[in-house]
Symmetry: C2
Subunit: 492 residues, 2 copies
């Protein structure tokens, strides 16, 4: 067998195990009975161990070496690069650490759920400390020469580091404060909606997600504490959401966000075993979810369609204008997933600063709740009244996903530049969206982004789509033109 064929056949086993673990993870967060948590953790640890065994197999090194001497086409070259990266990380980690990490992720999720229920960070902090310690050990094993946090960032967004993020986030943070301050001087946008029952909201979400292009033949929508998207197999990409009777728009935003992720997954090229048929980075993944959620899903045109669909789903008549105003109010608040588009990135900056400090040893897990609250006061001017609305609000740390948060803001930055480029290419964009015709947007994303898979890394892919653009400037321009305009704020 040719080494490329050996390599991809072998890696297909890895992907099979990964998708099997995804079924278990999906169930864990949707329907799994509470008493089953421990056993589920053991199952996931077992699978993580098997995945690691496949990835750390010595033969891969030989195949990669043999392929280094060959003429490769673009997909093969990308495959060798992507597999090489993952294999180098995997081979640095002993099997025992991988299984311990998987077990901790699963136990961490259960502890996080319990801590939220009890509204007590102390129920989560001991296991969080273990997670931090394990990830620190992992980072040191992978590359002792770099800051641990940089090593942890890398798999989510190859090429990203604190050195590139810090000045970008600083410039963005400054620009956002300027906009927020200008908005604060204007009269508030007041709007309120009637309570809409859960089942009507869910029917509304389903109609909209399908209209956007989320293929329900290979997908589904369930309820979960923390909305997420997950690929359970080659033709099985599911999303979860949540609904609150008294909050019509936050649930919808979550569904559109996850549908954006899911459509990216559904549009990836089918290249099993290559590690090329997958997202180029988590920042790019978030650019897809945030693009649909915000650029499209909070536009004035979108609410023409959404308003009509709400009635069709058995809900009340609410004008598109009211929905638009409700979806674009700017209020520095406590919760990232409920944040408006403008303040959202400040929530991310809080987490980026804390994660960096945590792994630099500048903040301990015991000090984290205090540091969280202090950062919210400083950056958003609000103080969390309790852990649930503070340090316990995100699921990420419970599974050891440190370094993911910056991807959200990278996603917003990319999405802003995509928006600019798409509108230039499709002048009829807003009339299409207003009429519920999303095919043009999806086709453009399919061609420009989804079908590219992971042939090149995200920065190069984005540059290929939008050219040389300043993403921070694009995002700030976009936010001024939407939120600044809504409030009548004037840009200095």
């Amino acid at each position: 067998m040719h080494p490329y064929q050996s390599l991809t056949t072998h890696l297909a086993r890895y992907e099979q195990l990964e998708s099997i673990a995804a079924v278990l993870a999906w169930d864990q967060q949707t329907y799994c009975p509470p008493g089953a948590a421990e056993g589920r953790g053991a199952q996931l640890a077992f699978l993580a161990g098997e995945q690691h065994r496949v990835l750390a197999d010595d033969r891969i090194v030989d195949w990669l070496e043999a392929l280094g001497a060959e003429e490769l086409d673009a997909t093969q070259a990308a495959s060798v690069r992507n597999i090489g990266r993952q294999v180098r990380r995997a081979r640095a980690l002993p099997q025992a650490l991988v299984e311990r990490m998987a077990r901790l992720s699963s136990d961490g999720f259960a502890a996080w759920m319990a801590a939220r229920e009890a509204n007590d960070f102390g129920r989560f902090s001991p296991i969080l400390a273990q997670l931090v310690e394990a990830k620190l050990e992992e980072a040191t094993l992978i590359d002792p020469s770099r800051a641990a946090y940089d090593v942890l960032l890398e798999p989510y967004d190859p090429g990203t580091s604190t050195a590139t993020l810090t000045p970008m986030f600083a410039r963005l943070g400054e620009g956002l404060r300027e906009l927020i301050d200008a908005i604060a001087e204007q009269p508030p946008v007041e709007v309120s909606f009637p309570a809409v029952p859960d089942d009507v909201q869910l029917a509304w979400h389903h109609r909209i997600a399908e209209a956007l292009g989320y293929d329900m033949n290979t997908g589904r929508i369930d309820l979960a504490e923390h909305p997420f998207t997950i690929r359970l197999g080659p033709a099985d990409v599911r999303i979860t959401t949540r609904v609150h009777e008294g909050d019509l728009l936050s649930g919808l935003g979550g569904t559109v966000h996850e549908a954006g992720h899911a459509m990216y997954e559904q549009g990836l090229p089918h290249l099993p075993g290559t590690m090329v048929g997958e997202a180029a980075s988590m920042g790019l993944h978030e650019s897809q979810s945030r693009f649909w959620e915000n650029v499209i899903g909070r536009s004035r045109a979108f609410f023409d369609f959404a308003s009509e669909q709400l009635v069709a789903a058995g809900g009340p008549t609410i004008s598109a204008e009211a929905l638009y105003r409700g979806a674009n109010r700017v209020t520095p608040g406590l919760t990232r997933v409920e944040a408006d588009e403008v303040t959202y990135n400040l929530h991310v900056i809080v987490r980026f600063e804390l994660e960096r400090a945590l792994f630099a040893g500048e903040v301990s897990v015991d000090e984290l709740e205090g540091a969280w609250n202090a950062a919210y006061e400083r950056l958003l001017g609000v103080t969390p009244p309790d852990a649930r609305r503070g340090v316990l609000q995100d699921v990420h740390w419970s599974s050891g996903a440190f370094g993911y948060f910056p991807s959200y803001t990278l996603g917003n930055l990319y999405a802003a530049s995509f928006g600019h480029t798409l509108l230039a290419a499709q002048p009829a964009l807003w009339s299409d969206v207003s009429a519920g015709r999303f095919g043009g947007v999806l086709d453009w994303l399919r061609t420009q982004v989804h079908q590219q898979g992971h042939h090149v890394d995200a920065p190069e892919l984005v540059q290929g789509v939008v050219g040389d653009r300043d993403h921070v400037a694009d995002l700030l321009d976009y936010l001024w033109s939407r939120h600044g305009a809504l409030y009548g704020a004037v840009r200095p």
Copy 2:
């Protein structure tokens, strides 16, 4: 490491894979999107291959051999026997056949669903023919000296064969015909119930399943086309059921049946890697489900409780007597899972005869629908008007589970003898049941059956509980005393 420890540590991997496959199977039958069927099949085939690899590992033979020369305690001896049986079967089968079989099971399930939808046996028969062929190949590889059907029966109920079942089923069939004929001479039992909405029925099922003792902390109830019980982990045993607005009692019977299976699973001893902490046979498993469903769950006393719970679940007031009469009407019908207790075993006998003939080459898959209809005319006096209510009604064949059906009737036979023995031990049984106190029954089953695991085979286990009893006589006595009495039929 001591060989027993090596053996059980190794087998724990097998159990881990088995429970992981169960999560995928559960999802496949509950929430899996239609387009994901093919990928799910590949995942299950992959896991079946891994399980087979673990079970066919050469080291097991060495460990078993080493243990043959040692003093073993009862659990160890049972473990060596149970593992030895499974290993001998596994080693007879090539990996490729195992993976093909897993793939066929999964594809078969999808084809069966589609065929039911289309009400067309022709959509299922090509894959059924492949399933029969693969199982025939399997049986021949395992033991070419015995009839294939006997080889297929064995894993469900070790010690059972067509030679023991045929005369037992013949005697039972005769006795049942006598009772059915006597009932047919009496005026029919007429009773009808109001339509009860699905959500009320489900709430009713939940209340009852929990009252019986099904632990919802480690279980849950979902809807599925074909009700089933499945263990997804050491503390995760789920059931599915179905409800029909116009048929109050068939859904409830299904839930109580599956809860009976689930309580058995929840009560098994925790002996990982030994193959002793599992059901002694499928016949014994069915004795638990059928005991709860029928002996308890169709008793007059039970409906005192169920009637009260229906009101508590938001349903209508229906008298216990009416529910009892409704649950014990005897009507030779088309559908096994909706059959009354008396005619139920005739449905099983039809399948037993057809399966035996299929594997003896006396009937082909193409002739199966005709043979099915003819057998129904002969044994039950009814003719299926279509495939959905005929040959397509059961899920079993779609996954290649040939040889399972006799377990249902074995279960009824064992359950009748258990009922006789329990009532002698607990004279207050019916007043307890009437008041919704099921703890005494469950404790008795826990001690006598569940906690025994698979130390001894089912016939020996049952004999230890009930002594030397004629199960056919016990079942016929029980049916005459309940249904004969209800109809005022006199035993000749």
